[in-house]
C-alpha cells in the first residue's frame, strides 16, 4: 500500500531517543497526523472510484432493479413507473453522484424494495465484523504461535510439519473447509450447531454457533499467515544483532521474543492486515453455508436484484474497514520500525 506514514526525519536516529522526547512529541505528531490524513484521503479517493465502478458494473449487467424486483403479473407500464420511482431512468453517473452526496451524512440510500440500506446493514454488518474480527484474532494467534514454534528450530521436524500443513491448508477454499467442518463437527458428531440462528436482537442465539464459521474462515488464512510469520522470522534471524544475541549465549526463546520477533513484526502485521480483505470476501461464502446473518446474504441478494445502493453500501463499509485495518498495520509497522532506525 502507500509508503511509510512517518518520514525518516520523523524518527531521528539520535543516539539516545529519550533525550529527543520533547522534540518528537510535538512537531512529528502533527506531521504524523497530516500524513495519516493524506493516506486516508488517498484511500477514500480510491474507494470512491471503486464505488463508481460498482454503479457502472451493475449498470452493465443485464436487466435493472425495476425488472429484477417486479412481479410476474406486473404490467410493463407498472414496471416503468417503478423504474422512474427508483430513479433508474436517470444516467448512472447522476445516480452515483446522488448516492455519494448522501454518504458523508451516513445516508446509504434506499434499496430497490424501498428499504433503507442503513437498516438492511445495521444488524448484518456487525455480525460480519464479529465473524471476521474473531477469525482475524484467531488467525493472528495461530500463525504467531505456529510460526514461532517452527522458527525455533529451522529445518527441524516441527518446522517441516508446520510449514507443510500451512501450505496445504492455504490452498483450501473456504467452502470446502466449511462443508467439511459441518459434516465432521456437527452432523456426524453432534458437538456443535450446524448453522447460525438468530434471536430477537438479531445476533446469534448461542455463542457456539460462531465456532464453525470462524474456524472455516481461519483455517485458510492461518495457513497463509503461518508461512509469512515463518519467512519473516527466518529473514530477521539472519540480521547481525540476532547473530550477536545468539553468540552472547542467550537462550533461543529469548532471542526469538526479544530480538527476532520485533524486527519481523512489521511484515507479520502487513500479512495479517491483507488477510482482512480475504476474510471479508470469504465471509460471503461462509455465511451462506452457515446461514450466518451477515452482509454476505445481503450482498448476494442485492446483486440478484441489481440493487446498486445496497451493493455500494456493502462495498463502502467493507472498504472503510479494510482501509482502517491497513492504516493501523502501517502505523504499527512505522512505530516498530521507527524505534529501530
Amino acid at each position: 500500500m502507500a509508503g511509510p506514514l512517518t518520514a525518516d526525519t520523523a524518527a531521528p536516529a539520535g543516539p539516545s531517543p529519550h533525550g529527543e522526547k520533547a522534540r518528537r512529541s510535538r512537531a512529528p505528531l502533527a506531521l504524523l497526523a497530516a500524513r495519516v490524513g493524506l493516506v486516508v484521503l488517498k484511500r477514500a479517493t480510491l474507494l470512491a472510484v471503486l464505488l463508481a465502478l460498482v454503479f457502472v458494473t451493475v449498470e452493465l449487467l443485464p436487466g435493472d432493479a425495476a425488472d429484477a424486483t417486479s412481479e410476474r403479473g406486473e404490467s410493463a407500464a407498472d414496471t416503468e413507473a417503478r423504474r422512474r420511482l427508483l430513479g433508474l431512468d436517470r444516467p448512472v453517473l447522476e445516480r452515483f453522484w446522488d448516492w455519494m452526496s448522501g454518504l458523508p451524512t451516513g445516508d446509504l440510500g434506499v434499496s430497490a424494495r424501498g428499504e433503507k440500506v442503513s437498516d438492511l446493514l445495521s444488524s448484518a454488518f456487525p455480525n460480519t465484523l464479529l465473524l471476521g474480527g474473531l477469525a482475524l484474532l484467531l488467525t493472528a494467534v495461530i500463525s504467531l504461535a505456529l510460526g514461532c514454534w517452527a522458527a525455533l528450530r529451522p529445518g527441524g521436524r516441527v518446522d517441516r510439519a508446520v510449514s507443510g500443513t500451512a501450505t496445504a491448508v492455504l490452498a483450501l477454499p473456504e467452502f470446502v473447509v466449511a462443508v467439511a467442518l459441518v459434516l465432521l463437527l456437527s452432523l456426524w458428531t453432534g458437538w456443535l450447531p450446524a448453522v447460525t440462528l438468530t434471536d430477537a436482537d438479531g445476533t446469534p442465539a448461542d455463542w457456539t454457533m460462531l465456532i464453525l464459521p470462524v474456524l472455516a474462515l481461519t483455517v485458510p488464512q492461518a495457513g497463509w499467515n503461518v508461512r509469512i510469520v515463518r519467512a519473516a522470522l527466518a529473514d530477521e534471524a539472519r540480521a547481525p544483532h540476532v547473530e550477536t544475541a545468539v553468540l552472547d549465549g542467550l537462550p533461543p526463546h529469548r532471542v526469538l521474543t526479544h530480538h527476532v520477533l520485533p524486527g519481523a513484526l512489521p511484515t507479520i502485521t502487513a500479512g495479517l492486515a491483507t488477510s482482512t480483505g480475504m476474510l471479508l470476501g470469504g465471509a460471503v461464502v461462509v455465511e451462506t453455508i452457515f446461514n450466518h446473518p451477515g452482509i454476505g446474504s445481503v450482498l448476494a441478494s442485492a446483486v440478484t436484484d441489481r440493487d446498486s445502493p445496497v451493493i455500494a453500501g456493502v462495498t463502502a463499509l467493507s472498504g472503510a474497514v479494510i482501509t482502517g485495518v491497513l492504516l493501523l498495520a502501517d502505523l504499527v509497522r512505522d512505530m516498530t520500525a521507527g524505534g529501530r532506525r
Binding site: 417486479s70 407498472d78 452432523l187 438468530t198
Partner: protein, 518 residues
C-alpha cells in the same frame, strides 16, 4: 393472485387425484397425520415449532400486500393475517375470514360474509370496512391488477358490517379461488408506515420480528378453531443446503420447501419425515404457436411424443414428482384424468415432422434459466431426448433478468414454471385465452376461447365440469405447452411434528393444525 417472477408464490391448491396421492405416498414416509389425510393420533397442545423457510435478506418485506419474494416472509404473514379464502383439498377453495360467499346469477357480483367472531389481535372486531380497505390497498399495488383480476377498486364495497360486495368486470366463477392467497386483511386506515405493526386476525400473533426471523405465539381467540402449538419460530435461510443441515442437526423441526436434493440426503435418517406435496410445481416447455418453427400443431404434437416423461421425472426431479399430460392445472378436482396419457412414440413423431415439412437440418435454441431447481436440467434432458426424433436442440442458459426481459412471452422455445397448479381455469385465463396478459406461447384458438367463456360463465357445477373437460381436451391437443411432469413440493420434518399440510404450493404455510408429539 401474486406471482413474483423468480421466487413466485407457489399458489396453493388441492391435491388432485387419488391416483396421484397413491403414486406419491406409496413409499411410506409420507406424513401420516397430514391435514389432508386425517390424523390417527389425538393432537397434543403445546410446544414451539421451529420452522426454516427460504428467503433473501435483501428482499425482506413486512407488508402483507407487498412484493413477497421470500417464502419466509409469506409464511410469517399468512400465520398473522387471514385471507378471505384459503386453498383446500376438495374443493380447492375453503372458507377462512370469509365464512361464506354467494354469486349473482350472472357470476359478476360476489358477496362475501365475514366469519362470526373474527377479531384483530388487538381485540377489535373485523368489519366489512376493514376488508374493503385491505382489498383496495392490495388492488393499488403495482401487480394489483393481476392479484385481483377483473376487479376494479371502485367495485369493492361494504354492505353492512359483515358483508363485502365485489363486482367483477366479467362473469367469473373462479373469483373465490382468486382471492385465496393474497387478500390479507389489516385494520381500516393502516398507513404504509405502520403496516408492519398492523394487527392481524390469524391463528398466531407476532411476538417479535427481526431481519426476516420471527417468533409467533398462539392466538387463543382465533375464530377458526383450535390451534395446538404454543408458538412458531420462523427462521430465514438463504440456501436449502443450510436449511437441511439445520434440520439434520436438530436446530429446526421443519424445513419448508427444502427440495428433492435434501430429501435424498435425509433418506437414510429414520428420525426425519419427508412430506411430499404433489402437483407443487409445473415446469412446462413453451412452444410458440403464433409464428416461428413450432407454429404448426403437428410439430408441437411430434415434440410431445418425442419426450420420455418417465425418465424426465426420474432424472430431473429425482423421482419426486409425477408424469403429466400437457394439461396445466393438474391439481384441480376438475382435472380430466380420462384423457389418455401421452407416451413416447418416436416413429409417430418422426412421421408428423415429415408431414409438417419441419426443417431437421437446423439447430433450435431452447432458452432456460436456473431460477428453480431442475429447470435447466429439464431443458438439457429434453434436448437429448428429442434428438432421437431427429430434432436438434441447443440449450441456452440465460441469466434470470435477461430471460424475463427478452425471452419470456416472446421466444419460440423456452422453459417456464408456475406454482398455481390446482386450477385449470387459472391457467386458461392467465396463459391460454387469446387476450390473456401472459399468453406465453402466443396461442390464439377460437374454439378454446369459446369453451373458456362458457365454462367460467356457468354456475351449474356438473355442466361446468363437462365444459372444462372440453377445454382440457383442446389444450391437450394443440396448445403451446409441453408439460412432461409435475414436481412434488418437499418438506422435511422431525419425527415429533404432526398435522402438517400436504397441499401443493403455498398451501404448505397452513400450520395452524400442526402439533408436536411429546
Amino acid at each position: 393472485m401474486e406471482l413474483t417472477r423468480r421466487h413466485m408464490l407457489w399458489l396453493g391448491g388441492a391435491i388432485g387425484a387419488g391416483a396421484l396421492l397413491t403414486a406419491c405416498g406409496g413409499d411410506g414416509d409420507e406424513e401420516p397425520n397430514a391435514a389432508a389425510g386425517g390424523g390417527s393420533a389425538e393432537p397434543v397442545k403445546g410446544g414451539t415449532l421451529r420452522v426454516g423457510a427460504l428467503g433473501r435478506a435483501g428482499a425482506i418485506t413486512r407488508d402483507p400486500h407487498g412484493s413477497q419474494a421470500n417464502e419466509s416472509d409469506y409464511l410469517i404473514l399468512s400465520l398473522i393475517y387471514d385471507t378471505l379464502t384459503v386453498p383446500g383439498t376438495k374443493p380447492n377453495t375453503e372458507p377462512r375470514l370469509a365464512a361464506s360467499w354467494k354469486a349473482s346469477d350472472d357470476l359478476k357480483t360476489w358477496r362475501f360474509t365475514i366469519a362470526k367472531g373474527a377479531k384483530f389481535h388487538d381485540g377489535s372486531p373485523v368489519t366489512a370496512d376493514d376488508v374493503v380497505f385491505s382489498l383496495k390497498r392490495l388492488r393499488a399495488t403495482p401487480a394489483g391488477a393481476s392479484r385481483l383480476p377483473g376487479i376494479q377498486a371502485k367495485n369493492i364495497s361494504a354492505d353492512g358490517t359483515d358483508t363485502v360486495v365485489i363486482v367483477s368486470d366479467y362473469a367469473n366463477a373462479e373469483l373465490p379461488l382468486l382471492v385465496r392467497l393474497t387478500t390479507f386483511v389489516v385494520p381500516k386506515g393502516t398507513t404504509d408506515k405502520n403496516i408492519a405493526k398492523a394487527p392481524g386476525t390469524g391463528p398466531f400473533k407476532l411476538d417479535w420480528f427481526r431481519s426476516g426471523n420471527a417468533r409467533l405465539v398462539r392466538n387463543d381467540d382465533w375464530y377458526g378453531g383450535d390451534v395446538h402449538l404454543d408458538a412458531i419460530e420462523v427462521k430465514i435461510f438463504e440456501s436449502p443446503q443450510a436449511m437441511a443441515s439445520a434440520l439434520l442437526a436438530g436446530q429446526i423441526d421443519l424445513a419448508s420447501n427444502v427440495g428433492a436434493v435434501a430429501a435424498r440426503t435425509a433418506e437414510s435418517r429414520k428420525d426425519i419425515k419427508t412430506v411430499r406435496r404433489p402437483n407443487d410445481m409445473a415446469m412446462p416447455i413453451v412452444l410458440r404457436t403464433a409464428d416461428g418453427p413450432f407454429a404448426d400443431a403437428k410439430v408441437r404434437e411430434a415434440l410431445r411424443l418425442a419426450v420420455d416423461r418417465d425418465t424426465m421425472v426420474k432424472q430431473v426431479l429425482s423421482g419426486y414428482g409425477t408424469v403429466a399430460n400437457d394439461i396445466l392445472g393438474t391439481g384441480d378436482p376438475a382435472y380430466d384424468k380420462s384423457i389418455p396419457q401421452r407416451t413416447r412414440d418416436l416413429a409417430k413423431a418422426k412421421q408428423l415432422l415429415k408431414e409438417a415439412k419441419f426443417d431437421t437440418s437446423k439447430t433450435y435454441e431452447l432458452y432456460t434459466t436456473e431460477d428453480i431447481a431442475g429447470l435447466a436440467e429439464s431443458a438439457t434432458l429434453f434436448a437429448t431426448q428429442v434428438r432421437e426424433a431427429g430434432v436438434k436442440v441447443k440449450v441456452v442458459k440465460q441469466e434470470s433478468a435477461t430471460f424475463w426481459d427478452k425471452t419470456w412471452l416472446k421466444g419460440d422455445l423456452y422453459t417456464t414454471y408456475w406454482g398455481t397448479n390446482d386450477s385449470v381455469v387459472f391457467f386458461a385465463s392467465k396463459t391460454m385465452v387469446s387476450d390473456s396478459g401472459t399468453n406465453e406461447a402466443g396461442w390464439k384458438d377460437k374454439e378454446f376461447d369459446t369453451a373458456y367463456q362458457k365454462a367460467i360463465g356457468t354456475a351449474d357445477a356438473s355442466e361446468r365440469t363437462a365444459l372444462l373437460k372440453q377445454l382440457q381436451q383442446i389444450e391437450h391437443d394443440s396448445s403451446g405447452y409441453l408439460l412432461w411432469g409435475m414436481a412434488d413440493g418437499i418438506d422435511l420434518a422431525g419425527s415429533k411434528v404432526n398435522g402438517l399440510p400436504t397441499l401443493p404450493g403455498y398451501g404448505r404455510v397452513q400450520l395452524e393444525r400442526a402439533w408436536l408429539a411429546r
